[in-house]
Amino acid sequence: MKILIVDDEKDVEMLFRQKFRKELKMYDLELVFAFSGDDALEILGSSNPPEIMYIFSDINMPGMTGLELLENVKDRYPQIAVSMISAYGDSDNFNRAMNSGAKGFFTKPIDFESLKKEILDLIQK
């Protein structure tokens, strides 16, 4: 199963790969990284239908924001689950994300335990 993580901070990749080291070995799980909303859409468009099943996206990014990406993805690929990860845990962002069809909303600093649980739930389905 492929999961796409979108964040303009490149170190996110190193962090996720190490945090999910065990899970990547144990399960059929693959992490893909995009560093902007446009990158993410390009990756999604590179195969038809996209192999990605779940997207975790930061909200505050230069260029396309995570919320715009969310709307875009929900428009083109409604079957892909999208959750937001943001340092801005305010109700405005939360409500906008939920109204646009986000599956979940995680605040930074990321609680990896709940993130792992979310991903494992998906794998077990």
């Binding site: 901070e9 962090l15 340092a87 305010d90 930074k108 600093p109 990321i110």
Partner: protein, 440 residues
């Protein structure tokens, strides 16, 4: 003079005086005086030429007489005619009693009238009215003048004092505005900085945390290697690295706490104002603060004395912010009293936190009083400033009271600090009821 002519004279004179007292129809004054009549009234501007001028003065009197009831008696004191009996001078003293709702006033007027006879009737050609003042043996009214002068000086002094006071108040308000302006821009700046710092800080915390996990896994792997001096050395080194990572994580977490407080501080009015049961909120958060303190690294025994106004029902407040306010005041009090315990080392000292709530027509009043070390004068006016802290090292962010003060201000209230060194500190919050319904 025949009796008919005298009767006419008396009547004209009487009517003329009556017109002054508003008892004679104003529009008929022309029947009583010659067209070019000239007269002096009792005030400086009452120097009148002609009927119209007289009428306008009488109109003024009518306007001023609303709510007044006039009563008068006339005493004639002097009368003289000329040889042909066509000119008459009559001098009278008129005592007017002005009755108004705030008491009676007596006005004594001296009126001299000169009348002339024209074929069939008498008309006033000149009059002069004056008010006799009470200045015995003081022909030039010097005493009166001096009294007035003194009164004026007193009034000027009073006004000057009032003006000075308003000026000082204005200056204080201006200082406060400048301060608020500075704080507002500081708030925006800190919010920006806080957000920029939060992301890299998350990486510091996450990577240090992750590295600790990886080291733990490395230790597990090391167990499968045969013991040797080199292995011992590696374990020692890795233990040091792990301890260092824990330090990085600890201080990173500390910095994250500061950043979070800064964000809270500059955050614009989240949470909503809604009717909240105040006393249960106070009880809950005092309790929470107490248990938080008991679980901290500096627990103390505290007597908590709740004096809550049971008549307080639901009050319109931002409950999220208000609970933070309660927590902050309690935490502050506990820290202060802990400090006093260490400094005093006196077994008889019983730390006490008293919380009072009251509601009256002026609004809400909540006070937090501790019997801790008090606040010295030199820092009393600094404790509300952001980042000001007396707590050493890692203990305080210096944002607690500043944040609390902001919460009070956001409720339109004021925060008052009463304190005496070694005795007590009392934080008083007053939130005025702008409209009574908001407290229903």
């Amino acid at each position: 003079m025949n009796s008919k002519k005298k009767e006419l004279l008396d009547e004209t004179h009487k009517n003329f005086l009556s017109s002054m007292l508003l008892e004679f129809p104003q529009e008929r004054i022309g029947e009583l005086v010659v067209k070019d009549v000239m007269g002096y009234g009792t005030t400086i501007d009452e120097k009148m030429f002609g009927v119209k001028a007289l009428q306008s003065i009488i109109q003024r009197q009518i306007d001023q007489s609303t709510d007044l009831q006039l009563d008068h008696e006339v005493k004639e004191v002097y009368r003289r005619y000329n040889e042909t009996e066509n000119i008459a001078v009559i001098v009278g003293e008129v005592n007017i009693i002005l009755k108004s709702h705030d008491g009676d006033n007596e006005l004594k007027i001296r009126v001299s009238t000169v009348l002339e006879y024209f074929d069939t009737n008498w008309k006033v050609i000149h009059w002069h009215a004056s008010v006799a003042t009470d200045s015995e043996n003081d022909t030039w009214h010097l005493q009166e003048w001096k009294k007035k002068q003194a009164e004026l000086e007193r009034l000027v002094a009073e006004k000057t004092k009032e003006l000075n006071q308003s000026l000082e108040e204005l200056k204080a308000a201006q200082d406060q505005l400048i301060q608020q302006e500075k704080l507002a821009s500081l708030g925006q700046l800190t919010a920006g900085i806080a957000h920029e710092i939060k992301n890299p800080l998350n990486f510091v915390n996450n990577f240090s945390d992750l590295s600790i996990e990886l080291l733990d896994e490395a230790f597990v792997e090391l167990e499968s290697i045969d013991d040797s001096d080199a292995k011992e050395e590696i374990i020692d080194l890795l233990n040091d690295v792990k301890a260092n990572l824990e330090k990085i994580n600890q201080h990173g977490t500390r910095a994250d706490g500061v950043v979070k407080s800064m964000l809270l501080h500059s955050r614009g009015g989240s949470g909503t104002v809604e009717p909240t049961s105040l006393n249960p909120l106070i009880k809950e958060y005092v309790n929470l603060a107490f248990h938080g303190m008991r679980a901290s690294k500096s627990p103390i025994n505290v007597k908590i004395d709740l004096d809550l106004d049971e008549s307080i029902d639901k009050i319109s407040i931002n409950s999220e912010d208000f609970s933070r306010l309660v927590l902050n005041f309690c935490k502050n009090a506990f820290d202060a009293m802990h400090e006093k315990i260490i400094k005093l080392n006196d077994k008889d000292y019983l730390p006490t936190l008293k919380i009072t709530s009251r509601l009256d027509e002026n609004g809400l009043f909540v006070a937090f009083e501790d019997n801790g070390p008090g606040i010295p004068d030199d820092i009393k006016n600094k404790i509300l400033l952001p980042f000001f802290t007396t707590k050493k090292g890692t203990d305080g962010t210096g944002l607690g009271l500043s944040l609390t003060n902001d919460i009070v201000k956001a409720h339109g209230g004021t925060l008052n600090i009463l304190t005496e060194v070694d005795k007590f500190t009392r934080f008083e919050v007053r939130i005025p009821s702008n409209n009574k319904t908001s407290y229903v």
